[in-house]
Symmetry: C2
Subunit: 156 residues, 2 copies
Amino acid sequence: MPAPSSSSRISLPEITARLRDEIPLTRAMGFSITGWDGRLVTLSAPLSVNQNHADTAFGGSISSMGILAGYSLLYILLQEREISTRILIQKSATDFLRPVDTDLTAIAALPMAEAIEEFVETLKRKRRSRMTLESQILSGRSLAATHSGLYVAMIY
Amino acid sequence: MPAPSSSSRISLPEITARLRDEIPLTRAMGFSITGWDGRLVTLSAPLSVNQNHADTAFGGSISSMGILAGYSLLYILLQEREISTRILIQKSATDFLRPVDTDLTAIAALPMAEAIEEFVETLKRKRRSRMTLESQILSGRSLAATHSGLYVAMIY
């Protein structure tokens, strides 16, 4: 299937490199953005550098992957619309459902088109807009944790 | 002021070294436990390795410091009582109130004595017990974020 035309400007290795450069801890986590299909963004990180005392993933790494999944989704969404913003997180909540004993995968999906348009509209009007983005962290193919993040984007 | 006798078995450098060894990301974060007065545990980490694209602390580092503050508190509490457990986090929630533009400090305080006794009692009876622990993350001396963590300890 050809990539959606809206995604043609997006280079995942380039965004990954920028985030790794700007946020050194993501480099230590071995984080990368591995997929974007125009709706779902997928992030990956190896278990080895993210493990805890129980040889499963450290809670802080799981929360960070959730935070980064929503952040990356919003980053791509705004880059596709060629809107330059600073994105910050205001609230982060993680429910740990089962241990992650494989490399980490985090997935975040775009919300409904209406919510996106409202977000972008507010951003253009007030130079600042907020959106809640949900993400899932997987162990293999099983759901291991859910993350909810409230993000604010600011045009500066 | 002399240390409370209950803390005399606790070596902060030893606990820090163990956590850094078991959770490699805490080493990358430059995390250490810098204070324990029998009621409050204090954690520190340098801003440099924990910064984001805005030169303030990365949200994932702030959440991780919150998670680690509660974890360290529970670890010390159980070590003082000579109870060997595995501690895991089940829920983590962070409210980011203002940017952290200094080295990171996280503080967690012991809950009321009654809550601790109930927690320990349940742990001994059911070999498993849960407790919510709140922590604060500071920027300089200002409150920058609050963290609430639900932890489970299991005797194995």
